[in-house]
Amino acid sequence: MTSIPKPPVRHPALQTNALGLTKRDYEGAMSTLCAGCGHDSVTAALVQTLFELDVVPHSAAKLSGIGCSAKTTAYFLRQSHGFNGVHGRMPSLATGAHAANRALVCIGVSGDGDSLSIGLGQLCHVIRRNVRMLYVLENNGVYGLTKGQFSASADVGSTSKRGEANAQPPIDPVQLALTLGATFVARGFSGDKTQLVPLLKAGLLHDGFALVDVISPCVSFNDHEGSTKSYRFTREHTHDIAPIELVPVRRRQSGIAAMADADGNGHRTGPGAAGFVTMPDGSLVRFRTVDDQYDPTDRNAAYAHVRALRDRGEVATGLIHVHEGAPSMHDASGTTKAPLVSLPYESLCPGSAALAELMDEMR
């Protein structure tokens, strides 16, 4: 429908994954976002992630609220159901979808207005419930779709296109998630796909709620000099505290991975040394921490580290915290492993005899 057709994500046409699908099979409708919008790079990263993880396209459910970011869900996985809900309420829709059908690969995409303003309460509570899903927050510091008002993630002093400086302190989804006990917290930058893709992969494999905050510049309203969410500023001020590499279970089994024998979570010893976390499917997430004394499996340390960097004016990116084994929503509520939607009615209705029995008790 657009009149400035953008070339679809480029890729070697022939490459196929374990399912015999090409990247094209993971793409969606043509983007209607502004040329250069960070969100389109996130889309590309998601396409690559899903392709490389051999996700069965129609097994995924894509959910979002309202905003330019929310439109992202239409631009990948043509073959799976998508849901553009109402502004800021995607977490509850995702919670319901996952409650009813836990077999769905639940992917939520949101924006900073959607998640940190109108949707802040829902975001906090979906984290608290540890609903198993990948939650991508396309963070640009503004309300793009309504033309550039500051969002709750805008930094103090960051200026709008009109030159006004933001006065209110920002809400950092990463610190918030750590405080609320999130079990997977990472941050990426739409301009750095090599870093972002492994983070998305790990988040997708995580058994619980996986927040991936992605700084995703808005070229139309927040990419100017003076903005702290511009491409330039982000490139200069992000600091990858734990670059990771994902060793998929396949490669592990085929014995390629170094630590294929090891399991459980390994903790880094010296600075720069590598640690690893085993994902539910057996894949390994190997992290190399560039800063001394940093271990993404230690929540308190992670929080302190992120704040320390922030106080130095730097934005921590990479795998910030991961904690496998915490009970997810379904674990906590003891739901059947089989998706509720798959249970036959007969196994749900107590029948007339049971009712008669109950009636006898009610006299």
Binding site: P57, A74, F83, N101, Q122, L340, Y345, C349, S352
Partner: protein
Amino acid sequence: MPNDFALRIGTVNGTGSASANGLLMQAIFRMGIPVTGKNIFPSNIQGLPTWYEIRVSGDGWTARPAAIDMGVALNPATYARDAATVREDGWLLYDSSWPMDPKLARADLHLLGVPFGAICVESFTGDRERTLLRNMVYAGSIAALVGIDMAVIDGLLEERFGKKRALLEANFRAVRLGADYALAHFDCPLPFHLERMEATSDHVLLDGNTAAALGAVYAGATVGAWYPITPSTSLMESFGEFCRRWRVDPATKENRYCMIQAEDELSAAGIVIGAGWTGARAFTSTSGPGISLMEEFIGLAYYAEIPSVFVDVQRTGPSTGMPTRTQQGDLMAVVYASHGDTKHIALFPANPEECFTMMVQAFDLAERFQTPVFLVSDLDIGMNDWMCRRLQWDDAYRPDRGKVLGAAELERIERFSRYLDRDGDGIAARTLPGVHPKGAYFTRGSGHDKDAVYTEDADAYREVVDRIARKIAGAADAVPFPEVDAQEGAEIGIVSLGGCHAAMREAVATLRARGLAVDYLRVRGFPFDGVVGAFLRAHERCFVVEQNRDAQLRSLLAIETGVARDHMTPILDYGGLPLTAQFVVDEVTRRLAPAEEIALPATRAAAGAARVTA
């Protein structure tokens, strides 16, 4: 005449009187005598006045009583009110442990003093025990006064405390003490009293919230999301209890349901819609304030066509209003919920039995019409103890899943258009996530065409919303048919709904007994069936009886049937207490009286009526 009287017991909430009152109710019920209980309680946990009204009716009337034959005054804070509410020449039972409070003195009353407090001090130890057992003592006295069979009470106590012998003993004694004192000091039973009947054998004592919860379980609902709010909370809590009883896999101990206490009503609605989208039967239960908070999500479910069930257990509005009082004030808010052009299917149960059956229908309608469906109950139906027929279940029942394309069908078809009206009934087939790549589509609350593709084109937009309008109009034939009680040539027609029914049945009988030819129609679903309009047109004089200030049902009738507003005279009771037949009878008679007498506007009269009864 026996088996036709009402008691009103005034106590302090949080002091355990509820169980004593329930004991009396149940005992009378066990004696085979029709009985109803109305709990009039405060929005508070402990220390405020609370009342329990027990109506015994051999004729089986279940509405709230208009006149109280015996008052029981156990709360000094409400002595005056309690004495005032007893009918002329009625009886008043009070605690004579202390010199009688002048507030209780009313010349025409038969005063019955029993030293409940003193008895407890003598016979029991410990403040807590004394306070609790005082309730059993007055229960005993009442039992003796109205002639409750002690054996029945003993049986009930056995059932309750069987295992805890000491407790059982204490309760036995307390009841006996109360009874013996009464027998010794008054000539029991009083003129109005009980006589065994066989009228309750195929009935149970049940509240609407429990019944609706049962409906959800039997309908196969698997996801329940809610945020606690009086008077709907007990519905979801019962759902949980029934699920723990019937939905736990005996082998694996896994749960065949998922209940989520949401952080608020917006979230609860979102969870229900998300679950409905994936194909589960999901529901939420709330009250007025929750409906207001769900408005945006309801509009999404309507426009994106997602099955979802919402229970509104109405309480007195507006705003927070009176959380522990009843009303029918959400009718407009529910059926036209959300901004923009919307119209929703709603069911109006009249009693717990219908809460059960209609809850099941709600799920069938929601999936068949792919839209939000509302079960519009109220505090009186939902939380009070109703005598109603034993609930039945037909094991042949299977859910109506509506038009859902499975993998096989999708495999076959050329191309799937989510919002295309293939069958001309306004209902388009849907698909569920995770089933088949060809079933994929994009669900959205923004403008979309018949292929679910985003659009801003006038025609494409209209094609979809026009179809939705046809779809919902079609639901008029699918919702429960109105209950009509008509005779040849009656010129007066009365329309009502929901919780008014108990009082309406009685009022209609009374009016007819007085020689007034009245017909009665109770709407049970929205959109209205054609017969509703026909009924109104067929009667020269129409009354619409409902429990709200603004005659909301009348407005709906005017909008939807086209009958002129003023062809329908509103009869409105909205003080928060369950409707009485008396009120309806008086109002109808007053309106039919010669003009000059019609001075008093409805609301005043209502106030008047309520003054006698509250």
